[in-house]
């Protein structure tokens, strides 16, 4: 039987983990509102399934599955909603390194999406390559390769700018 978290427990969990779950949800969806919807559904479902505070891998894989379901249903309806309005920043502002941060965020956004998924899960999701492979449904070696490709893409785009 699922145990409902206390208000404090839930809020604390959201504050500590919500940002990285949302960052991953953004990679899996077309719009910010879709990312937020998927995030809410996935957080609730993960708690229910775990019956207590879920581990991160369960939440990431639930976000992924929910996003795939949403994409399929959107395709069936022929919906092609594009992002509108100003884009939400992906990363917390760094007052001291504002320009560096902006360049880095732009570079991260330019990474090939399938490589970017891996970087985000590894760097900010704290996932192992094994967990990443399971979440994305790819072989372990592919996960590791995609990470290396992503780092190489970043190195190229930051060469002469930050490196």
């Amino acid at each position: 039987m699922p145990t409902e978290p206390t208000p404090d427990e839930w809020r604390s969990w959201l504050r500590d983990n919500g940002p990285r779950f949302l960052l991953f949800a953004r990679q899996q969806t077309r719009t910010e509102s879709d990312a937020e919807d998927i995030l809410q559904d996935a957080l609730v479902e993960s708690w229910r399934r775990a019956g207590r505070m879920p581990d991160d891998a369960l939440v990431f894989s639930t976000i992924r599955r929910r996003a795939i379901d949403l994409a399929r249903s959107s395709d069936r309806r022929g919906v092609r909603e594009e992002a509108s309005g100003p884009a939400e920043p992906w990363f917390a502002p760094d007052i001291e390194q504002r320009e560096t941060q902006r360049l880095l965020e732009e570079a991260v956004k330019e990474i090939t999406p399938i490589y970017r998924d891996v970087v985000i899960l590894k760097m900010w999701g704290g996932q192992t390559f094994q967990q990443i492979a399971e979440t994305l449904g790819i072989p372990l070696n592919t996960a590791a390769s995609r990470y290396r490709y992503a780092i190489e893409e970043l190195r190229e785009s930051l060469k002469g700018v930050l490196l």
């Binding site: 504050r15 917390a92 930050l162």
Partner: protein, 157 residues
């Protein structure tokens, strides 16, 4: 083993994902209420089928009872000789109404234009009406399944 970090990774590690904005935090905070035990799939499936079947059965029962009471009316003997008695049009008035809650289910959370989260609740109950079709007719009990969907304001912590 001393593994040196790639300069790109060092740069990335300086960044951290943006915090959730206030609206999203309020919405997710309110979603805690939807974690409560969900019905098992098989029970939900049965309930989904039983509800319309129950409603149809209630209507059928009501129809049969009303028809029965009409037939009984024609069988009443004339009270005075030589005067034909037509069936009395019975005006049915419920003499007792009783509601029995079937279920209260949390359907999800919506955020209103005032940024106030609301828990959308589904309430289902059986409305039992006891009807006396006429002075001599037996009382008839009619049960109708009813359903309301109601937004309930949630407290934001």
């Amino acid at each position: 083993m001393n593994e040196e970090k790639d300069p790109v990774e060092i740069l990335l590690e300086r960044m951290r994902p943006a915090d959730l904005n206030n609206d999203l935090m309020a919405r997710l905070t309110a979603a805690r209420g939807t974690i409560a035990p969900a019905r098992s799939h098989w029970f939900g499936g049965i309930l989904r089928w039983l509800t319309p079947v129950g409603a149809v059965a209630a209507v059928a029962l009501l129809t049969v009872k009303v028809l029965d009471s009409g037939t009984a009316g024609t069988a009443v003997k004339p009270q005075s000789a030589g005067v034909a008695t037509t069936p009395v049009a019975t005006k049915t008035m419920p003499v007792l109404v009783q509601d029995n809650m079937l279920k209260a289910r949390e359907m999800g959370v919506i955020v209103g234009p005032n940024r106030q989260p609301y828990q959308v609740m589904e309430y289902q109950w059986v409305e039992s009406e006891t009807i006396v079709p006429g002075s001599n007719a037996p009382a008839v009990r009619v049960e109708t399944t009813r359903r309301h969907i109601v937004p309930v304001e949630l407290e934001v912590y």
